[in-house]
């Protein structure tokens, strides 16, 4: 997924919705009672809206250059929106106090959130900085694409209730379908004869 030849259409199709989601997340909170808190909520919704296609694109069997190009764009914009969420969570809601984050969220959740933030950020940098295909990057990215959706699943389906559940279930459904297609593609590649027989 590292070769680069982004088209204007691909950039437009990811940047415009990302930007509009950011604007909506920040401005929709203006009518809320707790403006910073709602910005924290809305920005993670916006991030998930971009994260879901990014995760699916990663797990789908790679076929086209377009798929290869859309992945880093979605992955990056989702991360930037996540950083907005992270800012309102840690710097505003928890008053820039790491101790308060751990006290309020508990060690397990706070730790996984910080791992998400750092690891995902490093991977975004890797995605743009290193275009060559390295095995260690493949392993790192594979692990991140297991860990990250797992933490988002826990947060968006198990812990919190409300609209975020819709996003959580959408992410889950998208991943299940992507994994199924990936397994099918892998199986087809391993058993071409069987596929030929089936066609006959």
């Amino acid at each position: 997924m590292n070769s680069r030849n982004f088209t204007l259409g691909q950039v437009t199709a990811t940047f415009v919705p990302s930007g509009l989601l950011l604007v909506a997340a920040l401005m929709a909170a203006e009518t809320a009672l707790d403006v910073p808190f709602q910005r924290m909520i809305y920005s993670v919704w916006a991030s998930m809206a971009l994260l879901i296609p990014a995760l699916c694109l990663f797990w789908l069997p790679t076929r086209s250059q377009a798929q290869k190009n859309y992945w880093p764009l979605c992955w990056t914009f989702a991360y930037l929106l996540y950083l907005v969420h992270f800012y309102y969570a840690v710097m505003v809601h928890y008053h820039a106090s790491i101790a308060e984050v751990f006290r309020e969220q508990g060690t397990r959740i706070a730790t996984s959130n910080f791992i998400d933030t750092i690891w995902w950020g490093l991977d975004v940098i890797l995605a743009w900085a290193i275009t060559a295909d390295h095995k260690w990057i493949r392993i790192e990215r594979f692990a991140l694409n297991v860990f990250l959706p797992l933490t988002f699943f826990v947060a968006s389906v198990v812990i919190f209730k409300g609209f975020v559940n819709v996003l959580g279930y959408a992410m889950t459904a998208g991943l299940v379908i992507s994994w199924a297609l990936r397994i099918r593609a892998w199986w087809v590649a391993r058993h071409p004869a069987a596929v030929e027989v089936h066609r006959v």
Partner: protein
């Protein structure tokens, strides 16, 4: 490249450019927003007098033109009865100080309820509105301002109803009328952001008032604001838990008659439980609930600036005392012999529940101080402690805060609850006894002389901007109304009873001793 492709490319670039502009504008707006509020480190007195406690009401320009737009609501007694400050018993402010607003109003750049920054100044009310009073001996007297004393003249609930009636008047209360009246009166043109904020505020406030109408009925307006039949609280009183029942339990509380006088806030360090019924323990919780009853929310109360202001205001009241009686009334000489004899009467009949001051002025606890005494035993009006939901409000109150909300009260800090469920009134220190008028929790007894039954308690009198009588130590209450004393206080009405608390003795009952009571009154003027 075909024409279609060129158009598509141009459209895509336009989309990217427009989105970039929107994103940058939004980020600039968010940054600008953070500069609208300038939190200042205020001292305790300044916090008490002029700081926001999360109870913003309306934009400053609206506040300034309302009396002009709605003389019928803000001068319900007619022009001859004075301006809105006089008619609702506010205390006039000083020109050039705090925008010249009456005592208890503040200006801030926070929006109501959310506490979010606003480019437009909002006006709100804080602790000093209800807990500052003017002791005047005649209508022309400038008076003595006493901070911490419950206002003896403020008719706040009537003012709020007049305000709501104005909000609901869609013909006169329009943005255009507000703008033109303001610009005509001030000579200043409102900015675009001010106009936008006023429009937004008016829309939201009108919507909120309309939503409440089915629950709490239409507000009263005009001359009805002065009618005790419709506005039974009257001056210097409130219904402290009616709004909490409405706001937290979403119930109309229409039968609530738990009227309370606006209490004093002297020497709060000696008050372990707040409210007349001793129902709230923690000082911060007391202030939070008081602020929430008049519009603050757990959200704006959690912002650092507002939270600090509340804490500073509480700190101001810890050692707050009224002036000594002889400082407030330099022409009144007290008789040392009578004081000495009165102290003995006090120690025999009053000290148990109220305690007494020692030589240094520190308060010595009474044996039954802080004990909630059943209202039946005291013989006083019980409406304040028998209102519907009295038993369940505590649970609802605590549950209305999210579990990890820093302001969430502890259940044991609210009564009825784990630490008691007696329906009665708590024995408290009575420092500054002369400046606690009117007396009893419901303000049904106008003077100390009547409270100790030296003199009979009037059954029917009129309240408003009553003057002070230093002889009987309390309010002069006429038996017929006049423009300044309009509220008919009928002690036979539910919630208004002036019976009970017959200490040392019932009026002319067994043991009644006029000389002892005169001595006691003299002593009470000294504590």
């Amino acid at each position: 490249m075909s024409a279609g492709q060129k158009i598509a490319r141009a459209a895509m670039w336009a989309g990217i450019g427009l989105t970039a502009v929107l994103v940058v504008s939004t980020l600039l707006f968010v940054h600008a927003e953070s500069t609208w509020v300038h939190p200042k480190a205020l001292g305790t007195e300044e916090s008490f007098r002029h700081s926001t406690t999360g109870t913003e009401i309306m934009p400053l320009p609206v506040f300034q033109v309302l009396p002009t737009l709605f003389p019928d609501q803000f001068q319900p007694g007619g022009p001859a009865a004075g301006d809105w400050i006089d008619q609702f018993g506010f205390i006039r402010g000083e020109p050039g100080v705090n925008e010249g607003l009456p005592s208890g109003f503040f200006v801030s750049n926070h929006r109501p309820k959310s506490g979010a920054p606003s480019p437009v100044q909002f006006v709100g009310i804080n602790c000093s509105l209800c807990h500052t009073s003017l002791i005047k001996r005649s209508d022309s007297d400038h008076g003595v301002l006493v901070r911490g004393m419950g206002s003896t003249s403020l008719d706040f609930i009537a003012w709020v109803d007049g305000f709501k009636t104005a909000i609901l008047d869609e013909r006169r209360m329009t943005p255009e009328n507000i703008f033109s009246t303001y610009e005509k009166e001030s000579g200043r043109e409102l900015s675009l952001s001010e106009k936008l904020m006023i429009r937004l505020w008016l829309t939201q406030t009108r919507k909120t008032v309309k939503q409440l109408e089915p629950q709490v009925d239409n507000p009263y307006g005009g001359a009805d604001l002065l009618n005790a039949e419709f506005m039974p609280n009257g001056p210097s009183r409130t219904q402290p838990f009616r709004n909490l029942v409405r706001n937290i339990m979403d119930r109309p509380a229409l039968l609530d008659r738990g009227y309370c006088k606006l209490p004093v806030l002297y020497e709060q360090k000696d008050r372990t439980w707040g409210q007349f019924d001793g129902s709230v323990h923690d000082r911060l919780t007391r202030s939070v609930l008081a602020a929430m009853a008049i519009g603050a929310t757990m959200y704006n109360l959690s912002t650092p600036e507002i939270s600090n202001n509340v804490e500073q205001s509480i700190a101001y009241t810890l050692d707050l005392k009224p002036p000594k009686f002889t400082e407030a009334f330099p022409d009144q000489k007290l008789d040392a012999q009578k004081i000495g004899r009165g102290a003995k009467v006090y120690m025999a009949h009053c000290d148990g529940c109220h305690g007494h001051p020692d030589q240094n002025g520190s308060w010595v606890r009474g044996a039954a101080q802080d004990v909630v005494i059943p209202y039946e035993k005291l013989g006083v009006d019980g409406e304040r402690v028998t209102f519907r939901y009295y038993d369940t409000l505590g649970d609802a109150l605590v549950d209305s805060f999210p579990p990890k909300q820093p302001l969430r009260p502890k259940r044991e800090d609210i009564r009825p609850g784990p630490l008691g469920s007696t329906r009665g009134y708590i024995g408290v220190p009575i420092v500054g006894a002369y400046a606690r008028t009117p007396f009893l929790h419901n303000g049904a007894v106008p003077t100390l002389a009547a409270l100790i039954n030296l003199k009979p308690r009037p059954a029917l009198f009129y309240r408003g901007a009553n003057n002070y009588d230093p002889i009987d130590a309390g309010l002069v209450v006429p038996s017929t109304p006049d423009p300044k004393r309009y509220f008919r206080f009928d002690t036979s009405v539910a919630g208004n009873s002036n019976r009970g608390h017959d200490y040392p003795w019932a009026y002319k009952g067994p043991g009644w001793n006029e000389a002892d009571l005169q001595d006691l009154l003299e002593y009470l003027k000294t504590i």
